[in-house]
């Protein structure tokens, strides 16, 4: 995973609520067995509409997605995170995220930032007024800054540390392999096995 410390870029306002992972990456794209090539599938149905915000020239090259509430609900497909990253997004800002999507994001180094709904709308309006406005997302300071404005966000210390160091979860867990073995020796004897 790439480390995330601070990121400055332009933003795209996505004024929709309940952006489910079927919209982020439709199921037809999930048949691939590799981790690459998902950028073309990002919002592929919505992108057929020339008016869709990602198709507008002003927002080309943006790296921060600012969405309505309940972004990433639905399916557990991590492909949604891969598609956003491969398209060029480093950060998604919303008032609320689907739990599994948020978890998947932090495993991959895509930063999900939760801000109050009014703050998200203010940021969307600022970006609509000036699509070239620079937005900085500072994970160390837990703060988003744009124009003269700024807003703090919460993220737990452990996830923040892991993202800032770009650490691989499996490597961290395997440091505790002895604890896992000890636990396994004490499991209830009737628990099923698949063999």
């Amino acid at each position: 995973m790439d480390a995330f410390t601070t990121h400055t870029g332009r933003a795209v306002p996505l004024r929709r609520s309940n952006v489910d992972t079927d919209q982020i990456i439709p199921a037809v794209w999930l048949k691939q067995v590799s981790r690459t090539g998902f950028d073309k599938g990002l919002f592929s149905a919505w992108r057929e509409d020339p008016e869709f915000v990602l198709n507008q020239p002003a927002y080309q090259g943006a790296s921060i997605l600012v969405s309505g509430p309940d972004f990433g609900t639905g399916s557990s497909r991590e492909h949604a995170v891969w598609a956003l990253q491969q398209y060029g997004f480093r950060v998604v800002i919303a008032a609320r995220f689907g739990d599994i999507f948020r978890n998947n994001s932090t495993k991959m180094g895509l930063l999900p930032v939760v801000l109050p709904a009014e703050t998200v709308e203010a940021l969307q309006s600022a970006v609509e007024a000036d699509p070239a406005i620079e937005v900085t997302v500072d994970l160390g300071e837990r703060r988003v800054r744009w124009g003269g404005e700024s807003a703090g966000f919460e993220i737990d210390d452990y996830t923040r540390w892991r993202l800032m160091e770009g650490l691989d979860d499996i490597g961290l867990t395997l440091r505790n392999a002895d604890d896992i073995a000890t636990y396994e020796n004490g499991r209830q004897p009737w628990l099923p096995t698949t063999v």
Partner: protein
């Protein structure tokens, strides 16, 4: 202070707890399918890691498989299924491939084999893993990075979610099912209402549900935003499990049941949130919009967007769905009826459909897809397939099918379905397709009239 069911099961599985870190949670059962696993197995290979506990892992082919007899014709789907076969062979994981008697939708086969038991932690790279919570365990969906993590370590680092009680008092009226109940719950609390919580469904109406009905309820917890939903085990649970291939036998059965009986929320435990629903007031429930929270009683009309909680979303949904505010839901004509999925692809669901279709004819394209090959076998033993065929419905092989249209079973653009599945998202059943989520009974009655209909409406 007492503990909730969720807290008891969680504590039982903590491998390691340290200040300032998530708990390291042991996983008792890992279910695997072809869509969310190939990149995880690749990751293991690249890091030179093995599957730590192949004996706690089981795989099946479900999302891509065609439901007409014959090979997979889509080369991309075929590669994905073949990749799973290679990975399972290489890493020593038990697999139920297409054509195997044990094959089926991943959330149908776990309970069917008796692998899903009370008090367990169960994960799968699929959000509907919440289904298994119906047995009183903690079961939730994970992404591919976490699939790889569980394959490598049999654990997951996780913070314990908050707890929510959904208290369902009273009894469901005749003709109102578990599906209607969960659709009504989602409409009440919204698609984000359960976000950050493990939900425990409680109360008289829940206790009276069969295991299959309980699975339907827990299955759609994720549609209310909750990663996991659970129901305390009781005699209904034990009765369902007894004698299944992987259920404990002999003395182990008695020891297990004794422990399972302790898996209830203590009288003095406190939930972080409580939602109350009176089951006796419910009627058949259907969705009108493009998220599962956009639902209403069948007797209602398509809502006026300005009168909903999220007018912009409702306007957009009505436009996508091709619906006009004020239209009675019973007047909505559908082209296709889909019965199946991990939500409603079990034997009890097929019986409910057969009861309505017996002696009647369908007027829509009607696909009936059993959730597993065993469900198919059982349904055929009861002669249900003859009822379906006589009514003009199609009786298919097991798989996820039109729930998400990764196989050839899809809606055409603009086509409208009544579907027993779990998601009415834009394009979920095929690009441009329009989905109304319904119970199996409503699906069957709708197939007979061609419009959204409850069985009680039929002469």
């Amino acid at each position: 202070m007492g503990r909730t069911l969720a807290e008891k099961v969680w504590e039982q599985h903590v491998v390691r707890r340290a200040e300032g870190e998530p708990d390291l949670l042991y996983i008792d059962l890992h279910l695997v399918h072809e869509v969310t696993s190939p990149q995880a197995f690749d990751g293991l290979r690249m890091a030179g890691r093995k599957v730590r506990r192949p004996d706690l892992t089981i795989a099946t082919e479900d999302h891509n498989v065609p439901t007409l007899v014959g090979p997979i014709t889509d080369p991309v789907s075929k590669t994905q299924v073949e990749t799973l076969r290679k990975n399972c062979a290489e890493f020593g994981v038990r697999l139920h491939p297409m054509g195997d008697a044990g094959q089926g939708v991943v959330h149908i086969i776990g309970p069917q084999f008796g692998l899903t038991q009370p008090g367990m932690t169960i994960v799968c790279g699929d959000s509907h893993t919440s289904t298994h919570g119906a047995f009183g365990g903690i079961a939730f969906g994970i992404g591919t990075s976490e699939v790889e993590h569980v394959l490598a370590t049999q654990t997951l680092p996780a913070y314990r979610p908050k707890t929510m009680a959904i208290e369902v008092s009273g009894e469901l009226p005749a003709g109102v099912t578990a599906k209607d109940l969960i659709l009504a719950i989602i409409a009440k609390i919204g698609t984000g209402g359960g976000q950050g919580y493990i939900v425990e469904y409680r109360g008289e109406a829940i206790r009276k549900l069969s295991m299959e009905g309980r699975m339907t309820v827990c299955n759609m917890s994720i549609e209310a935003g909750a990663r996991a939903g659970m129901i305390a085990p009781d005699e209904t649970t034990f009765e369902y499990l007894k004698g299944r291939p992987h259920a404990p036998g002999g003395d182990a059965w008695d020891a297990a049941v004794e422990y399972w009986k302790s898996l209830t929320t203590d009288e003095d435990a406190v939930f972080d949130a409580v939602v109350e629903i009176d089951a006796s007031t419910l009627t058949p429930f259907v969705t009108w919009g493009t998220n599962p929270g956009q639902g209403a009683p069948l007797g209602a009309a398509v809502p006026v967007p300005e009168e909903t909680d999220d007018p912009a979303a409702a306007r957009r949904a009505l436009e996508y769905m091709g619906l006009t505010a004020g239209t009675p839901l019973r007047e909505i004509a559908v082209d296709t009826v889909f019965v199946g999925s991990c939500t409603n692809g079990r034997l009890e669901d097929l019986r409910a459909v057969a009861e309505v279709l017996r002696g009647r004819r369908v007027v829509t394209r009607t696909l009936i897809v059993p959730g597993s090959m065993l469900v198919k076998l059982q349904a055929e033993k009861e002669g249900l397939h003859e009822v379906f065929k006589a009514a003009g419905a199609e009786w298919r092989e097991a798989g996820c099918s039109m729930c998400l249209g990764m196989n050839p079973d899809t809606l055409a653009p603009g086509e409208r379905s009544a579907s027993t599945s779990n998601r009415n998202f834009e394009g979920r059943q095929g690009k441009g397709g329009r989905t109304h989520l319904v119970s199996p009974a409503v699906a069957a009655a709708t197939a007979v009239t061609g419009k959204l209909t409850a069985p009680a409406d039929l002469a």
